[in-house]
Point group: C2
Chain length 326, copies 2
């Protein structure tokens, strides 16, 4: 329930890497320029469908939060989108047109319209503080949104710290997604040994105790928690460079890794709820039927995925996973 | 008092970048293989002198700590070295032959010999724990060394966390070096915005409160604290890659940056003590006379320094400093 597909050749490269194993995904709107109109939305959805190369995948598209969306516009677009995604200004890739103030009164017009129309809000919840504290510092903002808009479903995207879990449980209208990488990695995997740009993301993966708390939440398939990969491809040479881009590409390995993780902890029974059922219930989805088969067979993660001049390095490149998709 | 000059073409590239502005430096022995014999030491010193291209620089060389150094060997080499450098196994670049146990009894024979002979010990003080905690976890080991070998001068190299400062002050035989990058950067500068491999080092730069405490200590020119750049060049393509090497290259900018920093805080009077006088007293050095002139003139840090196929990117590449060396 949190996927970046980008556009152009990158879209053509990465879209099939999700559509061949998933029945649907919530697609993020942070293109350049971001998706803020119905025309741009429908055109992007069409490009995604063409890039997917099969009909067994539903792209649940979103638009980029703006403080000046009118009720009429949101009403008109309601049936085309699954949610509106809010980025604070400058916190991650292509968020330069994000909101510059998280003041509730500034956000109120759009959020009240969404609340009335039943459109969920997805949030990249980080301040611009010290990187280890950004999500923690954002929690009062989540709390204020939860209190001020009690009928608005608020998705705390890609939660990364243990403090977020308490807040999630405190308010009925808060939900959360968790990525594969926040379940598997800590900051040690980024800067603890050799520097690994392909594990560098925002929010940054954090301490062992944060990972542990998130893992416990995911393994229990807590009903307010959904898998959201935040798979975020970047060109290899924009990651392995002087000013590396933030984002971890996990689409082609997410299912295998999650299966391995849930199996190791004896929680395979909860895997479907975490990956799919919780999201169906929270978003009122009725997904297309699709069957994939996971088999216990070694899968060596490719070093790179390529299409034309696009090259993307997945997480765990070159490493062995014990589950394959047949 | 902490410099990596490497070898071969890299040595030829970086040695003049220190020798043209400094009168001397303590040179680390972590080559491949490490410097552990008198022959290797003298040959390396000669290569350094040749690479420096001038006589106004004294390379204070060191050997790589081994648990089986005999008293006789240390006595024979005593006048050739300024210190012995101890690396725990696997904690940083070329430390694969480092000590595998930091147990005092394992280290005792060598350390007692050094204590008797008056040879200082330099230590890379990190465990293999979570990256933010490695130095903190190492403090009991420093404490044990300080207590067990009261006449051994122990240099806590490149201290990076505020907890180290308390311990430093607690034992008379503990001293410390601080780098430019630990005074200037926090983890935000490595992974807080775009990923910056050229600010990635071990120990990693830490939280704002750590930087603040170190800065206060350096600005006061605390008598037990010395500037040690830990300038550690790596080939550009071994930094900007999938498995990036740890080390920050600061030799050509260290004096300018420190001058700017001490000036900004109104502590220029303490600069000489921090950079030079404290080290002279602690190590009983009588350096050659050398004059350089810093002028208030913009200096744009080069994007890269090159020699033959070697390319090294300095910290603050492309950025403007307000002091230049005339």
């Amino acid at each position: 329930m949190h996927l970046h597909l980008r556009d152009d050749d990158m879209l053509k490269l990465v879209a099939p890497k999700t559509s061949n194993t998933f029945a649907g995904a919530l697609i993020m709107p942070n293109l350049l320029p971001p998706i803020t109109t119905k025309e741009a939305l429908l055109a992007y959805k069409k490009r995604i469908q063409e890039a997917c190369k099969n009909d067994e995948f539903e792209p649940h598209v979103t638009i980029f939060f703006q403080v000046d969306y009118s009720y009429e516009f949101l009403k008109e677009i309601k049936d085309e989108i699954i949610a509106v995604k809010l980025y604070p200004f400058g916190v991650t890739t292509n968020s330069e047109t994000g909101v510059s103030s998280m003041d509730v009164e500034v956000l109120r017009p759009t959020l009240e319209s969404m609340e009335k129309l039943g459109i969920p809000l997805c949030v990249h919840g980080e301040t611009k503080g010290f990187m280890m504290d950004r999500e923690k510092e954002f929690l009062p903002i989540y709390e204020s949104l939860a209190i001020n808009f009690p009928d608005l479903k608020i998705m705390m995207e890609h939660i990364s710290s243990k403090e977020s879990i308490d807040l999630l449980k405190k308010y009925d209208n808060l939900y959360a997604t968790i990525t594969v990488h926040h379940l598997m990695l800590t900051l040690d995997d980024v800067v603890g040994g050799m520097l690994n740009p392909h594990a560098f993301c925002k929010p940054i993966v954090k301490k062992p105790e944060d990972r542990k708390a998130l893992l416990q939440l995911a393994l229990s398939a807590h009903p307010k928690v959904m898998f959201g990969s935040d798979s975020a491809p970047h060109q290899k040479n924009t990651k392995e460079c002087h000013h590396g881009a933030a984002g971890v590409f996990t689409s082609p390995i997410a299912l295998q890794v999650l299966t391995q993780l849930f199996e190791e902890h004896g929680k395979l029974d909860n895997l479907n709820a975490f990956i799919s059922l919780n999201a169906q219930r929270i978003y009122n989805l009725n997904p297309i039927k699709k069957e994939i088969r996971l088999i216990k067979k070694d899968f060596i993660v490719p070093e790179v995925y390529s299409y034309k001049s696009e090259q993307v390095v997945p997480l765990f490149a070159g490493q062995k996973l014990v589950w394959s998709i047949s």
